[in-house]
């Protein structure tokens, strides 16, 4: 279980967020939705220890940690594939840097390539494949960390709508097939509705949780699910309210 208690972060004397509480139970898929620029990525930087939190505590599986650096894998909007490596070698990076058994890791990576629809592209370079393929490869690399917790920072927002839909079903596999615990940031409400067990709606600075939704309809979900549509209307209402409030 991932537990964030009273997380606080200042930047240049300005409060980005304070006393933020968030819990993701083991095997759950929680999604943070919020307007762009509200500080969602700063929260992730705090979790991964890139820019540590100023206050608050973190724990993973009841172990208190300074950061999730050695416990979480991380995927973001940019695919971050290295142009001098083939897709397979890119996927093997966590194995190479983490001193895993390369033979075993290669076998694992190849089967993930097959599972995520990249078979036959192992020796291609990132520049030779589409944005969707690159993000699939980034997803394989994320799984190759072999860590139980996954942080996703708008992983699909650089993709076109059609590609995004097909990759959303792969993100769902992280939970259903690979049994990971996932915390994702997105600003795509429909994406959140399709994937999340719980949605945290964040407000603008100082960032705080303005609403919390629990979604219990079974996955994979369809857009026309009435409960989802209700929640969607709720979320949009809330976001719009925040916007009007901001302008007023």
């Amino acid at each position: 279980m991932l537990q964030i208690v009273s997380a606080t972060k200042f930047f240049k004397g300005q409060k980005i967020f304070s006393k933020l509480d968030l819990t993701v139970a083991k095997g759950c898929f929680h999604v943070i939705v919020g307007p762009s620029g509200c500080g969602k990525s700063t929260l992730f930087d705090g979790l991964t220890g890139v820019f540590p939190l100023d206050e608050g505590s973190l724990s993973w599986n009841h172990e208190t940690l300074l950061s999730l650096k050695d416990h979480a894998s991380y995927m973001q909007q940019k695919d971050m594939l290295l142009p001098w490596f083939s897709l397979l070698d890119n996927a093997l990076l966590p194995a190479k840097t983490g001193g895993q058994d390369i033979k075993k890791a290669t076998k694992q990576a190849r089967s993930l390539f097959q599972r995520l629809g990249l078979k036959g592209y192992e020796s291609h370079f990132a520049s030779q494949v589409s944005g969707g393929m690159r993000q699939r490869c980034a997803l394989v690399r994320t799984l190759m960390f072999n860590r139980d917790l996954i942080l996703l920072d708008e992983p699909l927002s650089a993709l076109d709508t059609i590609t995004r839909r097909s990759l959303q079903s792969l993100l769902l596999l992280l939970q259903t097939e690979f049994k990971k615990t996932i915390l994702m940031i997105t600003h795509d409400i429909e994406e959140a509705l399709l994937l999340a067990d719980e949605i945290y709606l964040f407000s603008k600075r100082p960032m705080s949780i303005s609403r919390h939704f629990v979604l219990d309809s079974p996955k994979p979900r369809k857009f026309n699910d009435p409960t989802l549509l209700n929640i969607k209307a709720d979320v949009l209402d809330k976001l719009e309210g925040d916007l009007i409030h901001e302008q007023g």
Partner: protein
Amino acid sequence: MNRVNLLAVLFMGLILGLWEVFVRIMAVPIFILPPPSSIFAVALVQAPLILPHALVTLTEIVMGIGLAVCTAIPLAIVMFAKPTLEKAFAPFLVASQAIPVFAIAPLLVVWLGYGIASKVFMAWIIIFFPICVSLLEGFKSCDPEFRVLFRLMGASFFKTLRLLYWPWALPRFFAGLKVGVTVATIGAVIGEWVGAQQGLGFLMIQSNARLQVDIVFAAILWLTAMGLAMWWLVGILEKKVITWK
């Protein structure tokens, strides 16, 4: 041949043509300024005289480049890994470039002798700087987001260096190497001017004293050809190494 190459050749031809015409019309004596045609002729006819000297100079330059590469890479890595050391070394690096090589050339001959060592050293001083600095800048230009990714993967400095920083910096390294090989001739030739028994610089000084200006120019032609050839070879090496661009 593409358009740009064609233009370069045409421009070169124009300049050489003007030079040739000027010398012929003004009847400039051959010991003042020989026409390009006779320079090319001498460069070929006198090849048996010039080539052994060219070979010596080439050896000095190549050894200087080798030495520079072997020292610049570790130093750039050390300075990148420890910014405090970079601050400590930087003044010396800059000073090594600010002091004119002409000024220390006689000293080097005194210290290292008339042989090839003093010339290799001169070439090394000149080539070392652009390679080291461009490599260091290449390391530093690495996208911080990739550094974060490697940190999260738990990569050690040396693994990150091998898999990320080094390939990232390679284009800059080659840019520095290209500058290095083209200016390397300066170091070697100055070293030979000051004191040597062989080499193109030595040949130039000797021929100059005997008013054999055509030989001086022929030696310069060979030197230029060597510089161009090395530039070209580095370009080929770069294309072989950096396959992803």
